[in-house]
């Protein structure tokens, strides 16, 4: 251990070269407060400095895109004068330390992103990833995270309509807690986080400011949980201070902000998230090309003796920054009084400063009193936009070829297929029963199905018969083998899920959860994953309208498997009847829609499947992504289901996408919820039971002849699989299980693993 | 004078206490044996201006019964916080 004190900039997470950049910007040495501001704003979490050069490769344009990446949330035009705002984020590291509050504040933060756009939050989804449940700490994390989402989301009054639940040893001690939120707004209420109008006020709304989460998100998200040396690097300055959420404050903040926007009282509005007040003030000023004076003494403080850097970087929850004209301030105050929300003028929008070279620069000035001493003075855009971008070294993992050669499709012994199937089935109902999934009377298809489907309705929205669908998808098993095609297939999986509820995919958001970007293999995975996402989105005409990157997800020195989470937003033009769901009937014919065999060399690849993973096989060759084989199938299934949603009579009684666990799991899930069995005459061997690749749907129909004719007419491959009925799931002589056994195993799997039953 | 007061709110005898029961069930698996009669409750701490300790306590008891507890299922007991 060296006894020399660490230079301040390094303690704040800045490199020597970054310090030189700051000196260049200021033409002088920064003072400690200024260094702290750069430290948080140039952190990986706020600046995306390792990933931004890659993210530029994602398509983000579309005629229906109203707001693309870079604002609080992406917004699309859904028709009927309604915009839909969507955003996804991670709250991984806070949840690893304090699962209840970490997850709860994740929900609160994402909701503020959505209502800062003027949208009323209508739905939340939570993709969750934990280590295996034989470890007591992982069980504690599951219970804490789920109760945090439940406690905050239910109380704040936004339905949680689904998510994902993945268990893998790579997430042990570093769970991934992602959260996606959707809101809707009359398109004329769209608000942006821009400050303008010299003399206008910057008004801080909501909670008082305390020392919670000082540097929390920023420094935490950059410190990792690296085991021994990582623990040593978290000294007092970096020690995480857990933020505590208050859903009751947030509920009143939502109502107050939406009323302010409805009444046209604000010029711009932005939430306070990571890096708190410094982030909100410098970003709004930079976007508006204006300067801003911030008076730290005007910020309501929860604790005595707070320092300027603490006030500016605190991540206290449930706060918003609104830009308001002086004439409107009294009216703003009155609305806030009604909702019992605090409102204080903490900043003034000021003219940009004319520099000696003639350019005009909006300066962020931190002052002790509006007329008092200037404590810090830096160009707002240098904090918000000018963090250095890094093209970190990338390297294909040296063992990748060996991993791909170790293919379970080739040599994994076939065991007892019935036992294997039962082992794969997990009903996540224990999780989603804890979430209010029905508030606002919009939920047509709730959690636990292929995708969630909701009416597009809410207080203050124009009347509409449309619906919107949401799916979140990820497949770290695939992406570990091939981050490019794995990510592309994940996007396809999301589109397939939307098709099951009749929705046409309109936009993508992503949350890129990866390991340590200083490892060249991780940067290679990230870059490949972005390429795969770009390829799939280009091929399927999908704009990426927002995203989040979470790096340094590692535990004990091991990086997590690459975990890009894809959020898909789709629209159903007419939603007057529910889609068929999984409810097949005795006597229906069972049809497989889509190419029966995977694209690529192997017809039924088991690489990356749940079946192989359960047997400890993590290698092999993944199916290829081939959009030309997918598009007509997706369009056909979407149209079939959409016509049912529009109220038309159909012979289609059930639709389910074949995904995790393969065809066997898809059929078992349908049997489990209907308690009606199925008889499939012949399958192409054991591999077809458990192989995973998107583009296949199981459809039950009361009129096979008519259905097949429509499919052929649409140029879509179909295979007659068998008949629905009986009390057993009987699959081609390969396995035969009682439906009651399937239902019992599936229903009790999660609570059993959590040791709750 | 300013008096520090503590109010304890507990479920009345005979009212089911799933929280306490769950804690009690968990204890043996953590290696704590011989623990029984676990009851969960709430504790409030606040200060009262009053002219005597008796009056401080009476005010505390009154507000505890009116607001801090639900007399249908809970008992509330106020006491002076002698340590402060």
């Amino acid at each position: 251990m060296s006894s020399a004190p660490e230079p301040l900039h390094r303690a704040l997470g800045l490199t020597d070269s970054e310090l030189d950049d700051i000196r260049q910007v200021l033409s002088r040495d920064p003072n400690p407060l200024e260094l702290a501001l750069y430290g948080v704003m140039w952190s990986e979490h706020c600046s995306y400095k390792s990933s931004r050069i890659h993210l530029k490769r994602l398509p983000s344009k579309g005629a229906h895109v109203l707001v693309g990446p870079g604002e609080g949330a992406g917004v699309i035009d859904a028709g009927d004068g309604i915009g839909i705002a969507i955003r996804i984020e991670s709250h991984n590291h806070p949840s690893a330390i304090e699962p209840y509050q970490g997850a709860a504040t994740g929900v609160g933060g994402i909701l503020r992103d959505v209502f800062s756009m003027g949208a009323r939050p209508l739905a939340v989804m939570d993709p969750l990833f934990f280590g295996n449940l034989d470890d007591a700490r992982n069980r504690w994390l599951v219970e804490g995270v789920v109760s945090g989402i439940s406690g905050y989301g239910n109380s704040v009054g936004v339905p949680t309509i689904g998510g994902e639940l993945t268990f893998d040893e790579c997430y042990s001690a570093n769970p991934l807690v992602n959260v996606l939120a959707v809101g809707a707004l009359p398109t004329d209420r769209l608000a942006l986080g821009v400050a303008s109008g010299w003399g206008n006020y910057a008004v801080l709304l909501g909670s008082s400011t305390g020392r919670d989460g000082i540097g929390g998100v920023s420094v935490l998200a950059s410190a990792g949980f690296a085991g021994d040396d990582g623990a040593a690097s978290i000294d007092d300055a970096k020690r995480p201070s857990v933020q505590v959420g208050d859903p009751y404050e947030e509920k009143r903040l939502i109502e107050a902000c939406l009323e302010l926007l409805d009444r046209g009282y604000v010029v711009g509005i932005q939430d306070l998230g990571g890096a708190g007040l410094v982030c909100a003030t410098c970003e709004t000023a930079a976007k508006g090309g204006v300067g801003m004076d911030v008076d730290i003494t005007a910020v309501p403080q929860r604790e005595l003796g707070m320092q300027a850097f603490e006030i500016m970087t605190s991540e206290s929850q449930e706060r918003m920054l609104a830009i308001v004209t002086p004439e409107n301030f009294d009216a703003v105050q009155a609305v806030c009084d009604k909702w019992e929300v605090r409102a204080n003028v903490v900043g003034h929008v000021v003219e940009p400063t004319i520099m000696t070279d003639g350019t005009s620069v909006g300066m962020l000035r931190i002052r002790n009193g509006f007329d008092g001493e200037v404590l810090a003075e830096v160009p707002a855009s240098s904090l918000a936009d000018d963090a250095p971008l890094y093209d970190r070294p990338r390297q294909r993992p040296s063992d990748l070829d060996a991993v791909r050669a170790d293919d379970p499709t080739i040599d994994e012994p076939v065991g007892d297929a019935a036992a294997d199937l039962l082992d794969l089935l997990v009903d996540p109902a224990w999780v989603y029963r804890q979430y209010d999934s029905q508030l606002f009377l919009n939920t047509v298809v709730g959690p636990g199905r292929d995708a969630a489907l909701l009416r597009l309705a809410g207080p203050g929205l124009p009347a509409s018969n449309r619906g919107f669908a949401i799916s979140t998808d990820s497949n770290p098993r695939w992406c570990a083998l091939d981050p490019k095609d794995g990510t592309a297939l994940t996007v396809a999986e999301g589109v397939a899920n939307l098709a099951c509820v009749g929705a046409s995919a309109k936009a993508v958001v992503n949350c890129l959860n990866f390991g340590n970007p200083e490892h060249p293999e991780v940067m290679w995975q990230l870059s490949e994953s972005v390429d795969g996402m770009a390829a799939a989105c280009d091929a399927l005409s999908l704009p990426v309208i927002g995203g989040n990157v979470s790096l340094y997800n590692e535990s004990g020195g091991r990086d997590i498997d690459p975990t890009p989470v894809v959020g898909l937003l789709g629209i159903v033009d007419s939603l007057v009847a529910p889609p068929p769901g999984w409810d097949w009937n005795d006597g229906d014919a069972l049809v497989l829609v889509g190419h029966r065999e995977a694209a690529g060399a192997v017809p039924f690849p088991l690489a990356g499947s749940r079946w192989a993973t359960r047997r400890g096989r993590r290698g092999g060759q993944l199916a290829s992504f081939d959009a030309s084989r997918l598009v007509s199938t997706f369009n056909f299934v979407t149209a079939e289901v959409a016509s049912i949603c529009a109220g038309k009579v159909s012979d289609v009684t059930a639709v389910h996408d074949v995904s995790g666990g393969g065809l066997a799991a898809a059929l078992a899930e349908m049997a489990s919820v209907t308690r009606v069995g199925v008889n499939v005459a012949k399958l192409e061997g054991h591999g077809e039971l458990f192989a995973e690749f998107p583009g296949r749907f199981v459809v039950a129909t009361s009129d096979a002849e008519a259905f097949v004719a429509r499919a052929i007419g649409a140029g879509v491959p179909v295979t007659l699989l068998g008949t629905v009925g009986g009390t057993r799931v009987h699959l081609g002589g390969l396995l035969s299980v009682e439906v009651s056994d399937i239902a019992a195993r599936r229903g009790g799997a999660l609570e059993g693993a959590l040791e709750l039953i | 004078m300013n008096y520090s007061v503590i109010v304890e709110v507990t479920l009345r005898p005979g009212i089911a206490d799933p929280e306490g029961a769950t804690i009690e069930r968990a204890l043996p698996t953590l290696g704590f044996s011989g623990v029984s009669l676990v009851r969960a409750g709430k504790l409030f701490r606040f200060s009262i201006d009053a002219d005597s300790p008796e009056n401080a306590l009476a005010t505390a008891q009154s507000l505890a019964e009116r607001l801090l507890s639900n007399p249908v299922i809970e008992d509330a007991v106020a006491r002076l916080d002698e340590g402060r």
Partner: protein, 223 residues
């Protein structure tokens, strides 16, 4: 047309849903902020679900002291129909307008799921249009929904036919499977399940209609 007031406490979140249900049944719904001191000319009042005052302290404990609650109590005393749904039921018990109390669920988790209710009495403003013994699928959505009361109160609930709805399969540990109770007169009713969430087969069930039809209808009759 029945005029139904829907009380909004800070933290309420089912007020729009309750109002939508009333309007779907031909009534008119009026949101009443918790600071109101009078109800105006109404035919019925709904205390909707949500988390009034964040459910801090106890569900309903702080809402009970809102100014509007004096007016609600006076309206109930005059025989006006009052319905508490979920958090509204908790508020009514805290305010002493209904007997008993709601405790945390037996499993100590929040529960949002469909339940099957059995109509146990039709002698209330909520169940008057339903059939005794009928089974209705209506969702629950609560953390503190286990109905509890002392033996004396329970005996009088049974004697006076005040238990209006029971769960077929008790989800939360409620005493005697109780899902909803009325006051002696039958004009004040509280239930934990959400009938306003069961108004349309598009959303899974329309079995809540018969309950709210009775409630909105009694208001219309009074008008």
């Amino acid at each position: 047309m029945a005029r139904i007031g829907v009380v909004v406490f800070p933290g309420s979140n089912c007020e729009y849903d309750a109002a939508a249900a009333v309007e779907q049944l031909g009534g008119s719904a009026e949101l009443i902020f918790h600071s109101a001191t009078s109800l105006g000319d109404l035919d019925g009042v709904i205390l909707p679900g949500g988390f009034a005052h964040g459910d801090y302290l106890r569900p309903g404990a702080l809402a009970r002291f809102s100014p509007v609650m004096d007016a609600v109590a006076a309206f109930a005393a005059a025989g006006g129909p009052v319905l508490g749904i979920c958090n509204g039921f908790q508020v009514l018990t805290e305010a002493g307008l209904l007997p008993g109390a709601l405790q945390k669920n037996r499993g100590l988790t929040f529960l949002c799921q469909p339940t099957t209710l059995i109509v146990s009495s039709t002698r209330s403003v909520l169940t008057r249009a339903a059939t005794l013994g009928a089974e209705l699928v209506v969702p629950i959505n609560h953390f503190s929904g286990a109905y509890t009361c002392d033996d004396e109160t329970y005996a009088s609930l049974v004697a006076d036919d005040q238990i209006v709805l029971r769960y077929r399969d008790n989800p939360n540990g409620s005493r005697d499977d109780i899902a909803g109770v009325a006051n002696e007169a039958g004009n004040v009713v509280g239930l934990m399940p959400h009938p306003e969430r069961a108004m349309s087969s598009l959303l899974g069930s329309a079995d809540g209609r018969v309950l709210l039809e009775g409630f909105v209808g009694v208001g219309a009759a009074a008008h």
